[in-house]
Amino acid sequence: MPPEQSSAELSFPDRMLAVVRRFAPDAERLDKVMRLSGGASQETWSLIAVRARGPERMILRRMPAGVPIVEKISLETEAALMQAAEAAGVPSPHVHYVIGPDDGFGRGFFMSHVDGEALGRKIVRDEQFAAIRPQLARRAGEILAAIHAIDPKTLPDLPRITPREEIATMFENYRRWSEPRPVFELAFRWAKERTPPDDATPRLVHGDFRNGNMLVKPDGVSAVLDWELAHIGDPMRDLGWICTAAWRYSVIDKPVGGFGDREDLMAGYEAAGGGRVDPQVLKFWELLGSLRWGVMCIGMGFRAKQSDRPVELSMIGRRTSENEIDLMRLLAPRGA
C-alpha cells in the first residue's frame, strides 16, 4: 500500500516511521518521539530509530502541511546549506533525508543528533570546557573560512543583503519603533560613514554564527547550527557577529564569544584560507552587531503588548540599553 494513500489513516508516529523507512528501511520502530521546541509554524522533534544495527538518535525539523511559509529561507534550503557545509568540512549534523511532496508529511528534513553544549553561558564558564576554550576562537575562524569558501553558485537561491541595505533597514526600524536615542544616532552615523563597499566579494554568510549556535564538546566544536538567517553578503559580517558583546555572556574581556581573542579568530580565518582580516573592518561589523541586536531588542519591546509573551518581550525591550553601553565602549572608550 503506497504511503500517500494510507497516510491519512495512520497515527502521527506511524506516519513519521513511514517517512523514516524511506532512508532507513531497516527501522523497526521509533522510540522517544519528543517535540523539542518551535513556534506555531516550525517544529523540532527528537526521535530514536530502532534499526537492525541498533538505536539511532535523530532530529526532525518540520513544518506541517498547510502552514503559510513565513521563514526567511525554506527548510529545504536549510538542509541544502547543512549538506554543503558538511561537504566543506564544517562540523555539522548529517542530513539523512529531505521530506518530499510524495511523503505526505509536510516539509522538512531528518538529520543526525549531535552531542554538545549549545548554551553560551555554560561554554564560557563550565570547568569541562576550560581546556578547549582557548582554542575556540581560532577554530571559529577556521570554520568561517570553510563556510565562506563554499561557492554560492552551488547553492539554492539565497537573499542578497548588502551592508548598505542592512543598515538602512535597521535604521528605519529603529526610527519607527523607538523614542530618539542619542547613542544609537551616534552609532548609526559612525557606521554609515564607514560602510564597506557593496562590491566586496559576495559570499555565503551564515548570518547567526555566534556563541549559542555552535555545539561544543570538551574536545572541540561538534556542530554549527541555525542556518535560518543565511544569505549572500559580506563575509566579514560573520566575524563581527561572533565578536559582538551580547554573545560574551558577561565575560567581557574575551571578545570572541566570551571565550577568545580577536587575534586568534583572525589567525584561524587567515590560516584556513579566508584571507586577511582588517581589524577596522572587524570593528565596523562588531559595532553593527550591537546595533543589530539593539534594534531587535527595541522591536521585541515594541511588539510586547500584542504578543502572547508580553512580560518576556517587554524585558528584552529593556535590554536595549545593554547595547548602548557596548556601543559606547566601542565609540568612546574610557581608558584602561
Binding site: V251, I252, S314, E322, I325, R329
Partner: protein, 125 residues
C-alpha cells in the same frame, strides 16, 4: 501624601511571595515566565528609586549642552537630532561624558548585573 507601606516596599513583598513561595510550585513554562516577571518587578522598583535623581541630572547636562532648558523628552529628541545631523560629535565638549552618564543611569535600572556595566560603573568616581 500617601500612606505606607511605600510602592517599593509593596513591590518587594510581592516579589518575595512570587519567588520564594509560588515559584517552587510551578511547571517549567510558568516558572520561567514568573522568574521573568519577578525581574520586571525588581526593575520597576529600581526605576522608582533611581529615576527622579537621574532625570534631574540628565536635564541639567542637556541644558548645558543645548543652551536652553525644557522637558526631558524634548531635550533628548533635540540632542538625538543634532547628533544625527553632525552638529554635535564626540569632539563636542561634554557630549561623551553626558552619553556615558545617561547610559550608566539606564543600566543601573535595566540590568545592573550586565558585565560591561559592572566594569564601567566601578570606573566612576
Amino acid at each position: 501624601m500617601q500612606d505606607k507601606p511605600s510602592p517599593s516596599d509593596l513591590l518587594a513583598a510581592v516579589a518575595h511571595y512570587l519567588r520564594d513561595e509560588l515559584l517552587p510550585t510551578l511547571s517549567a513554562h510558568h516558572a520561567f515566565q514568573l522568574r521573568v516577571s519577578c525581574n520586571a518587578l525588581d526593575l520597576v522598583a529600581r526605576q522608582i528609586a533611581l529615576e527622579p535623581a537621574a532625570d534631574a541630572t540628565e536635564i541639567e547636562r542637556l541644558t548645558k549642552l543645548l543652551g536652553h532648558d525644557g522637558a526631558l523628552g524634548d531635550l533628548n529628541a533635540e540632542l538625538a537630532a543634532k547628533i544625527a545631523g553632525g552638529e554635535l560629535t564626540l569632539e563636542t565638549p561634554g557630549l561623551s561624558d553626558h552619553l556615558w552618564a545617561t547610559t550608566l543611569a539606564k543600566l543601573s535600572v535595566d540590568q545592573p548585573q550586565y558585565g560591561a556595566y559592572r566594569r564601567e560603573a566601578t570606573r566612576q568616581q
